[in-house]
Symmetry: C2
Subunit: 130 residues, 2 copies
Amino acid sequence: MTHARRAVLQALVAARAHVTAEDLLNIVQIDSPEIHLSTVYRTLDALENLGVVDHVHLGHGRAVYHLTDNAHQHIVCEKCSAVEEVPSKLFLQLEKELMDNYQFKVRMNHFAVIGTCRKCLAKLEESRDS
Amino acid sequence: MTHARRAVLQALVAARAHVTAEDLLNIVQIDSPEIHLSTVYRTLDALENLGVVDHVHLGHGRAVYHLTDNAHQHIVCEKCSAVEEVPSKLFLQLEKELMDNYQFKVRMNHFAVIGTCRKCLAKLEESRDS
DNA sequence: ATCTTTGCAAACTTTTTGCACCAAT
DNA sequence: ATTGGTGCAAAAAGTTTGCAAAGAT
């Protein structure tokens, strides 16, 4: 357990949400500006191997990291990029079906579910009306 | 409609499966070696805007492209990278729940569902026994 | 003393872009 | 003739790696 690792882990706990590697870098650099982005990646990698941390792809580009205990999924609007969390239990039936029919054990939360959010759907409605 | 676009579209139809931009490049270059990777990307982009093509992220790195009409999802094993297609109807209930509870219109197939496939699960069982 | 981790710079992978030239209507 | 598409090379964006120096046990 080194200084850098402690700092990254603390930042991750403090963030209490999905953060990118760069977000974490910005947080840890407030107190420890010498810490490098590659150290953040290596620490996250180590923490993932320990099963403490997971990363999720919310969309194109950057991945976000979070502590493993959060039992939720992410739904991401492809129009406005809004991210919402939804409880994992909505996915239970799908997980069961994939297990029963394909003997496939889903790790559902690795990718976000993308689509169109409430607000953007409403906007689309509006513009169709006019 | 130019030569390059025709070639890319033909390659995509011929492939009849998920292919990466580079796969497509390799196919079109058999007959038209002057076609460039950036043209493939630009053509795919144009075709996506027309709604003819979709791309899916199967895992880290490259995306795969396919014609829009294929109504299936991809499940990808994170251990062995095997890709399997599953019918969209397994996802209907989830789509309905997200719509009813969150007014969120899923575009389910943009990301693959990742997890562990039958074979790799079996291997894990074995190694646990020994 | 040994083995691991760090900082740094540089590589890497996939995709996008600027630009001058060429092709399609 | 004009608008848009193409080839190329180079940039971007996100992540990974090689290495020598520094740190942990």
